[in-house]
Structures are given as structure tokens and as C-alpha cells.
């Protein structure tokens, strides 16, 4: 059964999503069903990653006699849709399944009072299926389809609280942005199809000739995925969507954002890896976008008064670190000595930062959701003195804030450290911006901590209590992961991150379908 894992990874959440509406009004049943399905998919993704890290790329050809039958006899081009899972895809799959699981646990009590929960959980699992499809697929058109699935499910969840007008506003903004980006991706896919007559990522990458039309396609793909992952100056949808979405959906929505980042890396590395001169140009664009993203994101975060909006701007700013780290690696991809010296570590920092950021930002957004759950407001000006009432939330928040600011021994430290050291080798100015951003990040979280948790206990929160147990469990899982990843970063780096980075660097392996053809 192990060779069918890539198909099962997508089929399982879809199965869960289609069963969920049949639960009708049994809200408790459907919550447990969602936790069950997402829990199983975590196990599946761990199995998949183990398989990929030990045995290399897994191919899965849909509708063929054998899963590995890439080129049927007599064909020189692949004709079927196929999934191609390398270590980078498996890495993203772990993040997606883990965060959906945590989100489902958290949602158990966070959205208890809302109606229409069977649709909520169906959309949650559909979002998970969309992300998993995006990160596992080896086919450009399939990428577009799953991008749209994730976009539609995500925006429907953003607008889930339809009794709030703001939720619908955020929903239509997110949907508009994601559908325009997806359509431009489809346009680029059409350009590739017109030139090479195929949609397989590896096949196109082998034959791509880098004429002007290809570069236009790359520009479209780059801009679209950069918008979907929230790079400045196309980041405006991020705070809107993250603020209005129920906090239980924040973790999978974050992963959906970074699935677009994954697609950006996949396009820049795998699809255009053979281009020698222009790749450094792409790397520089990525690094500069990264620096802009982190700086503008963090300065906007400093002046926010809405706690979730503040954290969403930090999500933008942290995306900049990933773009910077991987951009530095991309710049020196065709220079073996520099790549070995710092390029590989820069990419490791960028990729490691993805999972670190997903963990601690989900934790922080969940604590913000807990604050909203207890106080009924997101405005920081109206909060205060909640540390005594909500001790576990406070501790989770402190861990998350320390991690996002890059304090040892929490997980943000290791990846930021790698990014500082390596970007310094490329250009010290990049590092200066990265460090200033880190300082400002700490400053703005001190502001949240001081105004929401510290201070004299307010009378209006006299009889408020700690949030229910499922929410606490979800937050504690992530807090524990923060500390574990921070104390033993080299274990995670060796087992997960360096295989993923090497999968990106050794693009020849991907181009030959894992050596099958």
C-alpha cells in the first residue's frame, strides 16, 4: 500500500470533506470526524516523508497499470497526470497535515457557538486536500486546479462568519486576489503548453528554452505566486483574510499561503533551474522582495491596534525571511563553491523558517483567537490584565513571541541565525535589514504582551476564565513543538530540511522523474 500513499494523501481529506455534510446538525460528531481524518492524514504524511527521505523521489501516475509507469512503452512524453513527491513536497505535506490537525482540535470549542459547522469542517478538509495536492503534484495544470481549490475553500472559510460584514469583505478580497493570481498561472501554463505540448513539470523543465515567451511566463508565475504568498507590495489581502478567519482555520490558511511560496520555489528552482545567467537575477529579485517584505510588514505591524491584524502583518514580515534565505541560495545556485560555502545553508535557513514560522505564528494567532474568545474583542486598547485570568494562554503567547523574535532556545532562533550568517556573505545590507526587523518584531510583541496580558486586572474581565481544554491542548502542542525545534534544531535540519534543500538543488533528479526515465 505504501506506493499508493501520494494518492491516498489527497483522497483521504476529500473523503472526509464529502462525508462531513452528511452529519447535518450533529456538530459534535462532525468535529470529532474532522479531528479523526486530519489525525490519520498526519500519520500518512509522516509515512510518506520517511519513505521519500530514505528512498528518494516517489512517482505516482494516475490511471496507469503501475504507479511508476511514467513513460508507457512507445511514448517519449508522459501522457498522464502524475504526482511527483520529493523531500520538499513531503516537508510541506507534513506542515499541512499537522496544522490542519491542530486547527481541527482548536476549532472543536472555538467555533462551537456558530451554525453551519458541517460545512466549516468540510471546507477545512477541502483546504487541506487543496494544499496537499499543490505540494505533491508534478503537473502544472494540476497545480492550478489545486491552487484554485485551496483558494475557494480558504476564502469560503474567511467569510464563514457571515453575520459580520467584514468577514464577507475579507472573503471577497481573498477570493478576488486568489482567482486573478490563479488565472494568470493558468495563462502561463497555457504558454508552456503551446510551446512544448505537455503539462508535466519535469518534461517542460527538461525542454525549456528560455526565449522571451518563457520569460514572460516565468514573470507571470513569479508575480502570481508572490502575490499569493503575501510579498510586499501585494500583501494587502493577508491582514484582511487572517484577521477575519476563525482562529482555528489560521494554521491551515498559513500553510496555504506557504504552499504558494513552495510553488514559487518549485517554479524558480525546478522549472527554470537550467538557465544560468538569469537565475541570479531571479534570486536577486527574490531577495530584494524579501527585504522589502520583512521591513514594511514589521513597520506596519508596530502601529496596529487589532491583535490579529498585528500578527498578520508579522506573518508578512516573516515571509520576507524565507524569500531572503531561499533567494540568497538561488542567486548562487550555479556557483558550486559559493553554494557549498553558504548557499545551501541559506536555503536551509529559508526552508526551516517555513515550518518554524507556521508553528509559532499559528500558536500566536491561536492565542489571539483565545483572547477574542474570552474578551469578545480584538482591540488591544480594550484589553489588559489578562495574565492572571488566562495563565496557559499567557505562557503560550510568551513562547510564541520569543520564538518569532528569534530568542534562543526557541525555534525561530536557529533559522534566523542561518539566514543572518548566510545573507551577510552575499550582501551585508540584507543582514542589517533582517536584524532591524527582528528587533522591531520583539518590540511589537512586547507591546501586545504589555497591553493585553500585563497591567492591573480590569473590572470588566472580573469573571472571565481560561479557554476550554481543546483550545489549550492545541496551543500546548504547538508550544511544545516550538521548544523542541528550538532545542534540537540540528535533528530537524538533518531529517527534514536538508533533504528538502537538496531536493531543490539537485533538480536533475526531479527532471528525470527520480531516475525512472
Amino acid at each position: 500500500m505504501i506506493e499508493h500513499l501520494p494518492a491516498l494523501m489527497v483522497a483521504l481529506p476529500l473523503f472526509g470533506a464529502f462525508i462531513a455534510p452528511l452529519f447535518k446538525k450533529h456538530y459534535k460528531g462532525v468535529s470529532i470526524w474532522a479531528i479523526f481524518i486530519t489525525g490519520i492524514s498526519v500519520v500518512l504524511s509522516l509515512l510518506l516523508t520517511k519513505e521519500v527521505v530514505t528512498n528518494g523521489i516517489i512517482m505516482y501516475v494516475f490511471g496507469a497499470d503501475k504507479p511508476t509507469l511514467v513513460l508507457p512503452s512507445g511514448y517519449v512524453v508522459p501522457i498522464r497526470i502524475m504526482f511527483e513527491v520529493d523531500a520538499m513536497g513531503a516537508f510541506m505535506a507534513i506542515s499541512a497535515t499537522l496544522m490542519s490537525f491542530v486547527g481541527a482540535i482548536y476549532s472543536y470549542s472555538h467555533v462551537k457557538k456558530d451554525t453551519g459547522l458541517e460545512k466549516y469542517y468540510a471546507l477545512l478538509m477541502l483546504l487541506e486536500a487543496g494544499i496537499l495536492g499543490m505540494v505533491l503534484t508534478g503537473d502544472l495544470f494540476n497545480l492550478f486546479v489545486f491552487l484554485e481549490i485551496a483558494g475557494i475553500a480558504g476564502s469560503a472559510l474567511v467569510g464563514f462568519r457571515n453575520y459580520r460584514g467584514e468577514a464577507s469583505e475579507a472573503g471577497i478580497k481573498y477570493l478576488m486576489v486568489s482567482s486573478v493570481a490563479s488565472l494568470m498561472v493558468l495563462f502561463a501554463v497555457g504558454i508552456f503548453y503551446g510551446q512544448y505540448g505537455n503539462l508535466n513539470l519535469a518534461y517542460i523543465a527538461k525542454n525549456v528554452s528560455f526565449n522571451m515567451v518563457d520569460m514572460i511566463a516565468l514573470g507571470l508565475l513569479f508575480a502570481s505566486f508572490a502575490m499569493k504568498c503575501g510579498a510586499v507590495p501585494m500583501h494587502y489581502w493577508v491582514p484582511d483574510a487572517y484577521t477575519e478567519v476563525p482562529a482555528g482555520i489560521n494554521p491551515p490558511l498559513l500553510v496555504a499561503t506557504y504552499a504558494s511560496l513552495y510553488a514559487l520555489f518549485r517554479v524558480s528552482f525546478t522549472l527554470f533551474a537550467n538557465v544560468v545567467i538569469d537565475l541570479a537575477r531571479v534570486g536577486w529579485i527574490m531577495s530584494i522582495l524579501g527585504v522589502l517584505t520583512m521591513f514594511i510588514g514589521v513597520t506596519m505591524a508596530l502601529i496596529q491596534k487589532d491583535v490579529k491584524r498585528l500578527m498578520s502583518y508579522h506573518a508578512i514580515s516573516q515571509t520576507g525571511y524565507m524569500l531572503l534565505g531561499v533567494g540568497v541560495g538561488l542567486t548562487v545556485l550555479h556557483d558550486p563553491s559559493k553554494l557549498a560555502e553558504f548557499g545551501r545553508d541559506a536555503m536551509a535557513g529559508g526552508v526551516f523558517h517555513i515550518i518554524n514560522h507556521i508553528i509559532y505564528k499559528s500558536l500566536l494567532l491561536m492565542t489571539a483567537g483565545a483572547l477574542f474568545y474570552v474578551t469578545g474583542t480584538r482591540n488591544l486598547n480594550e484589553m489588559g490584565g489578562l495574565a492572571r485570568k488566562m495563565p496557559i494562554t499567557t505562557i503560550s503567547f510568551m513562547i510564541g513571541a520569543a520564538a518569532i523574535s528569534g530568542l534562543p532556545p526557541f525555534n525561530g532562533f536557529a533559522s534566523k541565525f542561518l539566514i543572518y550568517e548566510t545573507s551577510y556573505r552575499l550582501n551585508p545590507l540584507l543582514t542589517v535589514f533582517a536584524m532591524v526587523t527582528s528587533v522591531l518584531t520583539l518590540a511589537s510583541f512586547v507591546k501586545v504582551f504589555a497591553s493585553a496580558f500585563l497591567g492591573p486586572p480590569l473590572e470588566k474581565f472580573e469573571n472571565k476564565r481560561e479557554v476550554p481544554k481543546p483550545m489549550i491542548v492545541a496551543m500546548l502542542i504547538l508550544a511544545a513543538l516550538c521548544i523542541l525545534f528550538g532545542l534540537f534544531p540540528n535533528v530537524v535540519l538533518d531529517k527534514l530540511v536538508y533533504p528538502a534543500v537538496d531536493a531543490l538543488i539537485n533538480f536533475a533528479q526531479y527532471h528525470s522523474w527520480g531516475g525512472l526515465a
Binding site: F141, F144, V145, E148, I152, S155, A156, G159, N162, R164, G165, E166, S168, E169, A170, G171, I172, K173, L175, M176, S179, V180, S182, L183, L186, F187, V189, G190, Y193, G194, G197, L199, P239, D240, T243, E244, Q304
Partner: protein, 121 residues
Amino acid sequence: MNGSLFVNFPFIVVALLLALGFYTIGFKRNLIKVVIGVEILEGAVNMFIVALGYVKGGYAPIYTQAPQEAVGKMVLPTPQALTLTSIVIGVAVTALMLAFAVNIYRHYGTLDVTRVRRLRG
């Protein structure tokens, strides 16, 4: 491709539709019109893909009651499949956007995009 206007005519239309779509999204004030702009974009992209799939002298890839001379001249139906998928997705996107628009109208009392911006800053 012999470069004549007639061969490239579908692509010129695609370019015009793309420009029109982005103009509609970017400069119309009514939210419904902005949604229509997205639909125009989608039509442009679909038309682009269908135009790519056109082969002069080719036949539709359907064997049911096909003429005898069609054998060996059938075109690959991939572009049509892509377009259909994208149309299906477009239906879902449009329905969801319009649903949001209805909800926005209920809560804001307007569809003017310059006033539908409580979330900013």
C-alpha cells in the same frame, strides 16, 4: 504560424479581453462589475487555451460516427479538457463571489468598492 493577421486573430482578441478584464477590475466602482471583470479575464484565458489547441485540418477526437478521413488526423483534446476544468472552477468562483457580494450589500448597504473598505491600514 505564418504570421498573418488571420492566424493570430484569436490571440489579438485574447490580448484585448485581458486588457478589458484588468480595466474592469481596476477602474469600475461597482463590486458586481469587478466580479464581471474577473469573469472576462477567465474568458480570455480560456479562449487562449482553446486557440492554442486549434490545428488546421484536424478533426474533433470523437470516434463515434466520425467521417472516414478523420482517422489519423484527430487533435489532442487536452486544451479542451483544461478549458472545461477551468470553466467548472470559474462557476464555483463566481457563485462564491456573488454570494459574498450579496452579504456585503446586506451589511454595508452599498456595493461601491470605495466604501467597502472597513478593513484597511
